[in-house]
Symmetry: C2
Subunit: 141 residues, 2 copies
DNA sequence: GTGTATAGTAAGCAATGTATATAATAATCA
DNA sequence: TGATTATTATATACATTGCTTACTATACAC
């Protein structure tokens, strides 16, 4: 029941990073920005696949894509081989937004990691990646 | 613009830990549980002070306390020296809940940290604590 | 062909957080 | 003292992220 709990710490950092991001006044929310980044890395991906990558429900992703489509940053193109499915593609307008997001992510990252050595960052990433894996698997415990 | 971003990773882990916690079917939400734990560690604390510890707005905390008070786990006692303020205290009924929360936190922690060495956990805690400090201070950058 | 699985969406809701405003009280200072 | 300012808690209204459940349309498998 210590207050210096790793879950509490993670929760706080996540909130603080979001707060920091919001100072940027970028028009897209953090998760929208993230979805946009992922689309740019996997153009043509289907919504189910992207939802799985982000580990959120398809409907949750659908809403993010709705917004990005409304803002004319992402386009749903019908899949020629499966009439149920869409491929997600960037619009030409997406490029500047992606650049701004990139800069903003880097700014927040720098602020968060100020004063940490490269080794410390590496160690943290390694530990966090393991935690992610542990929590993703549906083992008991 | 890498997808293996520390912010993304933190976001995911936090979501996965929440999901894991929710499997417990404990009647209080994660933040309610956390607030209860903090009250147990600082009985008599005022709401502003607790909100500051949790780094959330006073109104956000007020709602958490409302719920805990409704569930008869926390009591607002008028501060004898300041008629605007309340001290937060556990009710007698809180003890069993705290025990359950403790067990649940430990379960999630174990699942998340499975396979990590003590050194890895230490390193992660150290890095995360530094990040927390960096993000809490209102420096520019 | 019939039954089952999959892709996407709709509706409705919950948790967490915010900004802004207000009431009551306390503290400061002229 | 009395006026101004600050602090404590709360009300209202809202946004974001996430969920469950249910539905339509299409694909696949037997």
């Amino acid at each position: 029941m210590q207050v210096n709990n790793i879950g509490f710490l993670l929760t706080d950092i996540k909130r603080l990073m979001r707060r920091e991001y919001l100072k940027s006044k970028l028009p897209m929310t953090p998760m929208q920005a993230r979805a946009l980044v992922y689309v740019s890395r996997c153009e043509g991906i289907r919504q189910v696949a992207l939802a799985e990558m982000l580990e959120i429900q398809p409907i949750t992703l659908a809403r993010l894509i709705d917004q990005l489509a409304l803002d004319n940053l992402v386009e749903r193109r019908p899949d020629p081989k499966d009439r149920r499915a869409y491929g997600l593609y960037l619009t030409p307008e997406a490029a500047p937004s992606l650049k701004e997001i990139d800069i903003e992510i880097e700014r927040v990252r720098k602020k968060a990691l100020q004063g940490l050595t490269e080794e410390q960052v590496e160690a943290a990433m390694e530990a966090l990646t393991l935690m992610h894996t542990n929590l993703s698997t549906d083992s008991p415990l």
